[in-house]
Symmetry: C2
Subunit: 274 residues, 2 copies
């Protein structure tokens, strides 16, 4: 449903662009190193966090305590690069378009393959991403302003604290989509079916009530227009665990590069809870 | 869940008050002629409209076209006083606490039994009522201001037109319950499961967008306090068909008296759609 660039069509072909396995194979071959929005859009995409086992245990507890911003789709065995529960032949070392390598909370490299960095103690987390629920909203006929305006979604730090675990803590980050009231009500219904990709909104209406001073100045992403007959609707956002990770400053960690998600074989509709 | 008066306890007994068939039998015997809020509260209660067959056909089309304010739970065969689909031995002529008899749109009598008025061409409609979804909201731990304040819910005429059918037309009437945002989101989830008793809200937030000038001046029921951190949430209301009926002014019709509903054997939970 999301818009797809001409360059993506030229790499994957007009049909191939919808095929998760083909897109992943091209990514593994190094033919695509950019964002994944609109690629294989019927399929679930995931945020990726790779941590040494010691911090991984803390991070899993952090996700368990904060399921709305940190919905875990899969956790690998330590040292195992394959993610069989998410699809056929998924190798986390090569199947993302681009990675970020972090030392002590600082990005030190943005490679397109991490095979050389793999270690026997690394654990991979794949977390649900809002692309899945946006796909469901668009299929339900609900327009999304940031997509119509060709922008990134607007994201804000709130004064809602996440539940800490070990190293990990910080404020909940939310994404905001302006909607007319009837669309907001429908959006609650649609996204409630998808608890594994952030689920129902966490807030709607007055942004000050969750500690947002100015909707025109998002902390991440782009500001979008809000019309007089619209209300802002806020969802827990996958930037929350990334922000917690940046604050925790583990000695070593790898994530996806922003927007360059893992494409799985799961269909978005498979995540629907009823 | 709703509060029950001491007089109700003395009539039905502390246990009997929860038993739909016992309560209905006492009503039939003339032992209770008042409102039914809090009686047999696990059970579905219904608004009642009784019309001659000619207008009944128009009214059924009106309900079909406006399912949110006019959710039909049962329609009788012409001339049949029994409603077997709603419970055991329900006789619509005697099993409401109090009726209203209308001639040309004017209330001419408020009897407690209509056996003497029954005719072979009369058709009974039973429409879902907000008691069922309020019960579900309270069970979900969501407080309701009007119940806490011992008031009737606030209701307003909107500028949303219903779809006309034959004689019947008019504005949608809505009920309003103020809630914090998180409770409003949860209330959308809870009431979405109950399409047969008005279902999800039709609006939330700015009342002017649906033609309500002043929340402090409801058209029916009582005004309630709205706190600074709350938004008004609006549901389609069963007063809508009553208002359409009053405007249509059929030569003859019978309804329940306000608040004196038909108590059925159905459990509220049986209406849940998932």
């Amino acid at each position: 449903m999301q818009s797809v660039s001409e360059s993506a069509v030229s790499v994957f072909g007009p049909q191939g662009i919808a095929n998760a396995q083909l897109v992943r194979r091209k990514i593994r071959q190094g033919a695509w190193a950019s964002h994944t929005s609109g690629l294989a859009s019927d399929h679930v995409q995931g945020n990726v966090v790779i941590l040494p086992e010691a911090q991984a245990n803390d991070f899993l507890r952090y996700c368990q305590r904060n399921p709305k911003p940190c919905p875990v789709l899969a956790v690998s065995e330590p040292g195992q690069a394959m993610l069989p529960s998410l699809g056929d032949d998924i190798d986390i070392c090569s199947d993302l378009p681009r990675y970020r390598v972090w030392n002590d909370g600082v990005v030190v490299d943005e490679p397109t393959d991490i095979t050389a960095l793999w270690r026997k103690d690394l654990v991979t987390f794949v977390l649900g991403c809002s692309f899945s629920f946006e796909h469901a909203l668009l299929e339900a006929g609900l327009p999304l302003r940031h997509i119509a305006q060709g922008k990134n979604v607007a994201m804000y730090r709130t004064h809602i604290a996440t539940q800490p675990a070990g190293l990990f803590h910080g404020p909940m980050v939310v994404s905001m989509r302006p909607m007319k009231a009837a669309a907001a009500i429908r959006a609650v219904q649609v996204t409630s079916r998808f608890p594994n990709v952030h689920g129902a909104p966490v807030h709607l209406g007055n942004p000050a009530l969750i500690g947002i001073a100015d909707l025109g100045a998002p902390d991440y992403g782009d500001a979008v227009d809000i019309m007089d007959d619209e209300i802002p609707v806020f969802w827990a956002c996958g930037v929350t665990p990334q922000a917690a990770l940046a604050q925790a400053r583990p000695a070593f960690c790898i994530t996806h590069a922003p927007g360059a998600m893992l494409i799985t074989d799961l269909l978005n509709q498979q995540l629907a809870s009823f």
